[in-house]
Structures are given as structure tokens and as C-alpha cells.
């Protein structure tokens, strides 16, 4: 089993492999990313700190915090970074690594949500929102589901809630492609 130290170098390599990912070495710690981020005040570690942690090989701690999953993918940091670091894409890579290695706090709301989203798309070829929302609440806080009932009814009376899921015709075809890309990965 890989030690934390090994994982940190795996993480660093992964982040550097995304397009322009190696620009993380050009970070001057100016904090423009943190100041531009709409959710940094709700993060355990700010975007600037994540870059520092990444380079210092302390990423394990960052991934186990709430930080990465509170990135809303607004790209404000990415368009403002004076070093041209595609920080939103760095966050995506960290989300993927966190998922892959199970390194995020249990029941992290956004991590649970994206997983439910993926399952819905894999199953139908498109998202089926009621199923997605139901799964999300069951896996996070089932009691909160009740608070959504009145909202659901407001949508329902306006014909804005899908009762049945729509499966695309090519769902089998899509699954074949997904199997092929997984296979590719394994070889």
C-alpha cells in the first residue's frame, strides 16, 4: 500500500499532467485566486494555500478538508491568475484524486451529489433529476428530503418534474464506449 508521501508525489504528477498544470511552479503566492474565489471564506484552506500545500507535499491534509469540494467551478481564479495557472482545472484534478483514493470526509455534500449525478447519466444517458435528488438526500441527510417536498410540489404543479426517466436510444452504445475507455485505461 502506498504511503502518504508516495501519494503526494502521485498527486503532484497528476496535477502537472493536465494542460498547463506544470504552471503551478510559477505560483508567486499573490493570493489573487483566494480573493477572487466566491467561496474561499467557507473553505478550510484557501486556493492560495492549496497551491502551497500541493508543492510542499501536504496535499493529504487538504483533500481531507472541506476545501476542494467547495469549488463551484466559476473560473474566476483561472481568468485572473497572473501566472496563468488553470486553478479551476487543478481543483477538478484534486476532486478526481480525492474520489479515486477515497480521500474526502464522509458525506461531503458535493462529492455525494456528483456521484449520484454520474450514476444517473450512466443509467439513462441523461440526468433524471428526481432520482438524483432522492439519492443525494438518502446518502447525506434523509430528514432534509422532507424539507424539499413543498418545493417539489411547486415544480410538479407546473409540469416541471419528470415522473418517468427518459432513456436515450443509444444508451447501450454509450455503455460500450464507456467500457472501451475503461479497458484502455487498464492496459
Amino acid at each position: 500500500m502506498a504511503t502518504t508521501k508516495d501519494l503526494d508525489s502521485v498527486f503532484l504528477e497528476s496535477v502537472c499532467s493536465i494542460p498547463d498544470g506544470d504552471k503551478i511552479y510559477e505560483c508567486i503566492q499573490c493570493g489573487t485566486c483566494s480573493a477572487s474565489c466566491p467561496t474561499s471564506d467557507a473553505m478550510d484552506y484557501s486556493p492560495r494555500e492549496i497551491l502551497a500545500a500541493l508543492r510542499a507535499g501536504m496535499l493529504d491534509r487538504v483533500l481531507k478538508s472541506n476545501t476542494v469540494w467547495r469549488c463551484a467551478s466559476c473560473y474566476s481564479c483561472a481568468v485572473r491568475c497572473p501566472a496563468g495557472i488553470p486553478f479551476t482545472d487543478v481543483m477538478y484534478e484534486l476532486k478526481r484524486l480525492g474520489t479515486q483514493y477515497g480521500l474526502y470526509p464522509k458525506r461531503t455534500p458535493n462529492a455525494v451529489m456528483v456521484k449520484a449525478f454520474m450514476e444517473s447519466v450512466d443509467r439513462h444517458g441523461r440526468t433524471h433529476e428526481p432520482e438524483l435528488v432522492q439519492k443525494y438526500y438518502l446518502r447525506t441527510n434523509p430528514l432534509k428530503f422532507l424539507s424539499q417536498v413543498s418545493f417539489g410540489l411547486r415544480l410538479l404543479v407546473r409540469g416541471r418534474m419528470a415522473v418517468l426517466a427518459h432513456n436515450i436510444k443509444g444508451v447501450g452504445n454509450l455503455r460500450k464506449m464507456m467500457a472501451a475507455i475503461e479497458e484502455n485505461e487498464a492496459t
Binding site: 494542460p19 456528483v114 460500450k176
Partner: protein, 295 residues
């Protein structure tokens, strides 16, 4: 409008427009019809993957968008048009990745091949707002205005993923094309500094305390600028801004009630289309009452 003058585009509605935000789909098609745009829906399209899928598995996410791009290429038309910011960015981003990352691209092509598809990279992804403003243009849009929306103060909200990160269509932080369009319709665009700030996206569901704060700032700013309504070009932003105004108001201690509509609904009203053609009754804010009073 005669058939021969119609411009044909391949249209990608996106998942949320099928039911939850069907008003956007309906109103998009209605104004397209008036403008002589033939929006031919991409046959058997699948989810683009949005921000969510990319957060779990990059390669699988690429396959999702690649299948749509391959289907679009097969139609022989060069442009794939969507009215959803999320779909617009995701399809566009994957299209770029396939062109820029040869190794990854090769794997995706193999996967497409396993499903009997090919993609040569010829499709251009565009937003419906771009089509209206840049292909149709001012003169033609103005020509269709039946009842100008004079004295109608509009805050244009663009969200994040129309302009960022590529800035192809407009400025990344202070876009103007929707304001321009509102002006052509006879409405008065208000100065709106938060027009491209984040609404919180999925967080309105997953982290409501964060979502409400972000959405609250946007709604408050629009109201402080004296806007009669907010128009948007993104279904998720529209939902976040319209659906939780009570709770958002409580959270930021400010009355946040304001009608929120799609820019296509505003266009349709100026064009004299009927309420049903724009699905105004779908709205959770009093859009219909506002428009009836103003037009």
C-alpha cells in the same frame, strides 16, 4: 419568414431543459421561429456531463461530450448550438481538449469507434445568445419587435460559464451582449456589477448556506439598481435565482423578491408572442403579471 431564408443549426437542449426548465427550451424555439432560425434537435443526444461528471472521471466525461460532437458532425452542419451555459462550456471545453491533447484524444477516438462513431473535430459549439446577437444581429431583431419594452429596467445576469474561462464570446468578467440585446428590444439595461458573479451552482442544493449568500448578493444588487426583473442565459442560474427568494431573503435580511426570466422570454414578449409560447406560467416568480403590466 420563408423557408429558403431559414438558417439551420443543430440544437442541443440539454437535460435540464427537458422538464425542469422546459420554459427555456420552449421560449428558445419560439423566438427562433420568429427569427427564421431552424433549430434541428440533435438526435438522441446524451448528457454533456456538466461540471459533475468531470469531477469524478475525466476520460468518461470526455466520452460523453465526444459522442454528442460526433453525432453533431454526422449531420453535416458545422455548428452545435445550446442555450445552457453549462452545456456550452462543457462541450466547448471537451472539443478543445480533444484537439489539444493527442494521447487522451486517441483513447477517446478508440472509445467512439467501439460504439461505431467517429469525430474529426469539425464542430463548433455556440451559445444561442451568440446566434441571436451575432448571426441575426441588431437590425433583424429590432425589425421583429412588435411592442417595445420601453421603461422596462432589466438586469442581465450572465453567470460564470458563458464567458469563463475562454472569453470567446464576450468579456470574462463584464460581458455586455445580453445588455445590448435588451436595448434592441426597447428595454433599459441597468448597471449591474454582479452580472457575472457566481450564483453557487449546485451548492444551492448541497451547501444551501453558501448558495443563499451568493445568490442573495446578486438579487440584492439587481434590486438596488432598480431593476424590474433579471434576465439570464443559464437554466441553473435561473433556478437558483428564482426558486429560493424567501429563504435567501431571510438569510441576508433583505427583501429579495424579483421576477427572473430567460432572455428568450423577454425577447418573445417584445415580439408579441403569447404566454404559452414562452411558458411564462412555469415561472416561480410573477413573470407573467410583470410582463402583462409592462407590455
Amino acid at each position: 419568414m420563408t423557408g429558403s431564408r431559414d438558417r439551420v443549426y443543430t440544437y442541443y437542449p440539454g437535460c435540464s431543459q427537458m422538464v425542469t426548465n422546459k420554459a427555456y427550451n420552449i421560449s428558445t424555439k419560439s423566438v427562433a421561429r420568429v427569427l427564421g432560425l431552424d433549430m434541428a434537435e440533435l438526435e438522441d443526444w446524451n448528457c454533456c456531463g456538466a461540471t459533475a461528471y468531470m469531477a469524478i472521471d475525466k476520460k468518461r466525461a470526455l466520452v460523453l461530450s465526444a459522442r454528442n460532437l460526433a453525432l453533431a458532425e454526422k449531420t453535416g452542419r458545422a455548428e452545435l448550438v445550446t442555450a445552457c451555459n453549462g452545456c456550452y462550456l462543457t462541450l466547448n471545453k471537451v472539443n478543445r481538449l480533444l484537439a489539444e491533447e493527442p494521447e487522451l484524444s486517441m483513447q477517446v477516438h478508440k472509445a467512439l469507434d467501439a460504439g461505431g462513431m467517429t469525430y474529426d473535430g469539425t464542430v463548433r459549439v455556440r451559445h444561442f445568445l451568440d446566434i441571436v446577437v451575432n448571426d441575426v444581429g441588431e437590425e433583424e431583431v429590432r425589425r421583429h419587435v412588435a411592442g417595445p419594452l420601453s421603461g422596462f429596467r432589466v438586469a442581465s445576469y450572465y453567470g460564470c460559464q458563458l464567458g469563463r474561462p475562454f472569453g470567446e464570446l464576450d468579456d470574462e468578467e463584464f460581458p455586455e451582449i445580453m445588455d445590448k440585446l435588451a436595448g434592441w428590444l426597447g428595454a433599459e439595461p441597468v448597471f449591474f456589477p454582479l452580472k457575472a458573479k457566481c450564483c453557487g451552482g449546485l451548492m444551492m442544493t448541497t451547501e444551501p448556506e453558501i448558495g443563499r449568500k451568493l445568490t442573495g448578493k446578486i438579487l440584492k444588487s439587481a434590486k438596488q439598481q432598480g431593476a424590474d426583473c433579471i434576465i439570464t442565459c443559464c437554466p441553473l442560474c435561473q433556478m437558483n435565482l428564482e426558486a429560493y427568494q424567501d429563504k435567501v431573503g431571510t438569510a441576508i435580511e433583505y427583501d429579495c423578491h424579483i421576477p427572473v426570466l430567460y432572455f428568450t422570454q423577454l425577447m418573445g414578449c417584445a415580439f408579441g408572442l403569447k404566454s404559452d409560447e414562452l411558458a411564462l406560467k412555469d415561472s416561480l416568480t410573477p413573470v407573467e403579471a410583470l410582463l402583462t403590466a409592462k407590455v
